[in-house]
């Protein structure tokens, strides 16, 4: 199966990232220094809060402009900057990077249907509605179509945000703790639906999470981060072994590795 850029899976990385960024000046500032590439179509970035995971996603989406580095999706270089010189970049609105943020940012002045249809341009109202409803069904929120964001719970808003991002026809999907407001069952169902959809459309997904269970479930490859640096990259059972052991130990179950 070849990816959307015409290359067969595994031949070359779909994501290449190199970022050097200083968030605040001085000794107390937080800095991000990472470099990695991946061929895994389902990728997870795992780490505690404050490790820079969200910043990584924001940089790929174009919402954060690092001091220096390079970000490449497939063969498309969407960001390139050498220190001291101006950046070469694709503007945010043209990167086709779907990003579902932690704060959902659902538009308060549009109802659910129109939120989801926001990115559906150049088609008549009927087609728009049909496409939007289909995506709402995927996230199991079809019944919410005529509701308004202020009436919805956190979990419902998250579903809407996901559907809205999918409607924009992204080339890659970045999910930042997307299922945090859902219960375990909802999380699992939505995750499955999403991954099925992504596989169907040959869209790679990168999920950021600090939830161990989710990390195991959502990724073929895991990148662990801490304090703005990469700790490890590899298969979940290898990279997350210590984490898993610690969790099991805390639950009173001995390691059976």
């Amino acid at each position: 199966m070849s990816d959307i850029f015409g290359r067969s899976n595994g031949a070359s990385p779909w994501l290449t990232v190199q970022i050097d960024h200083q968030f605040a000046h001085g000794a107390t500032g937080f800095s991000l220094h990472i470099a990695f590439e991946t061929r895994a179509r389902r990728m997870v970035v795992f780490g505690p809060s404050g490790s820079g995971k969200s910043s990584l996603l924001r940089a790929i989406a174009g919402l954060l402009k690092p001091d220096a580095g390079k970000i490449q999706i497939g063969s498309r270089i969407i960001w390139l900057k050498h220190p001291g010189s101006p950046a070469t970049e694709t503007p945010v609105e043209r990167r086709r990077v779907g990003l579902v943020m932690q704060n959902q940012a659902v538009f308060p002045h549009l109802n659910v249907l129109r939120n989801v249809a926001f990115a559906l341009r150049g088609m008549d109202a009927a087609t728009q509605k049909e496409k939007a409803l289909r995506l709402l069904k995927l996230v199991e929120a079809e019944s919410l179509a005529d509701r308004w964001p202020r009436e919805l719970s956190g979990g419902q808003l998250q579903r809407v945000a996901v559907a809205r991002t999918l409607a924009a026809d992204p080339a890659v999907l970045l999910l930042d703790e997307p299922f945090a407001a859902l219960d375990a069952q909802g999380r699992q169902q939505l995750s499955e639906n999403l991954h099925t959809w992504a596989t169907e459309h040959a869209i790679p997904i990168l999920t950021v999470t600090h939830n161990l269970e989710e990390a195991f479930a959502a990724g073929d490859e895991v990148l662990t981060m801490k304090e703005g640096r990469i700790l490890g990259q590899g298969k979940p059972c290898e990279v997350l072994a210590t984490e898993r052991d610690r969790l099991l130990f805390a639950m009173g179950v001995s390691s059976t590795n």
């Binding site: 989406a61 538009f107 926001f118 956190g154 924009a168």
Partner: protein, 229 residues
């Protein structure tokens, strides 16, 4: 009451408000989102008419843009007549005079739009103009109304500038506030009272409109779930 003066005043206020909104919306967008170091001086310039005596403004329009200066001659050439004693002159004066009443509410309204909504719109493929049209303006609707109503009311009440450059031509530059002044000068106090009350009523109506819609829209904020994660 003088119908000609009333119609003239309303026409002036409407045209001035339309021009002001057209200029102020992009300017407010820049002021709300820029990080340029020119932001502060430009904001100060935009607010200047708030403290500038209208007669000073009128004076500079009369002399500085009159036929004795190169700039004034250029304007004459463009318009076909000098700026003074013309409706166009009043429009120019009113736009300058009511400028801050359009720019300030709009800038505040734009800046109050949740930044994460604009980020989301951008990732969904929405460019700057599209974001203004589909996210910022709808959410800043209240400020748009405030800007429009205040500019309108302020122009209706304008006197100093018109006095300096109007020439008091009925139907062309004799606005309601000038008519009021004339009536007082002519000791026609009863008529003056009627005109004054009418002007007062317009201002009151304008302010009521502004404050009522403020209360209505007070709770429109971004609907991100709070505190989860």
């Amino acid at each position: 009451m003088d119908t000609a003066a009333l119609l003239l005043t309303l026409r002036l206020a409407l045209i001035t408000t339309s021009i002001l909104l057209a200029i102020a919306i992009p300017l407010a967008y820049w002021l709300a989102f820029t990080r340029s170091r020119w932001k502060t001086p430009i904001q100060a310039i935009c607010s200047l008419p708030l403290v500038l005596p209208p007669t000073v403004l009128g004076f500079y329009l009369l002399v500085g843009l009159g036929p004795r200066t190169a700039l004034g001659r250029g304007i004459s050439h463009l318009l076909g007549h000098p700026l003074a004693f013309s409706f166009a002159g009043l429009v120019v004066g009113s736009v300058l005079y009511s400028f801050p009443f359009a720019v300030q509410p709009l800038t505040a309204g734009f800046a109050a739009v949740d930044g994460s909504l604009l980020e989301a719109a951008a990732t969904l493929g929405s460019g700057p103009l599209d974001r203004i049209r589909r996210v910022i303006l709808p959410l800043a609707r209240g400020s748009l109304l405030t800007a429009a109503v205040l500019s309108f009311a302020h122009t209706v009440g304008e006197f100093g500038v018109v006095l300096m450059i109007g020439g008091n031509l009925p139907g062309i530059t004799q606005t309601l506030s000038i008519a009021l002044y004339d009536q007082v000068q002519d000791f026609q106090y009863a008529q003056a009272n009627r005109t004054a009350l009418f002007l007062l009523a317009i201002c009151f109506l304008a302010l009521t409109l502004v404050y009522s819609q403020r209360r209505k829209n007070g709770s429109v904020k971004s609907s991100g779930s709070s505190g989860l994660v």
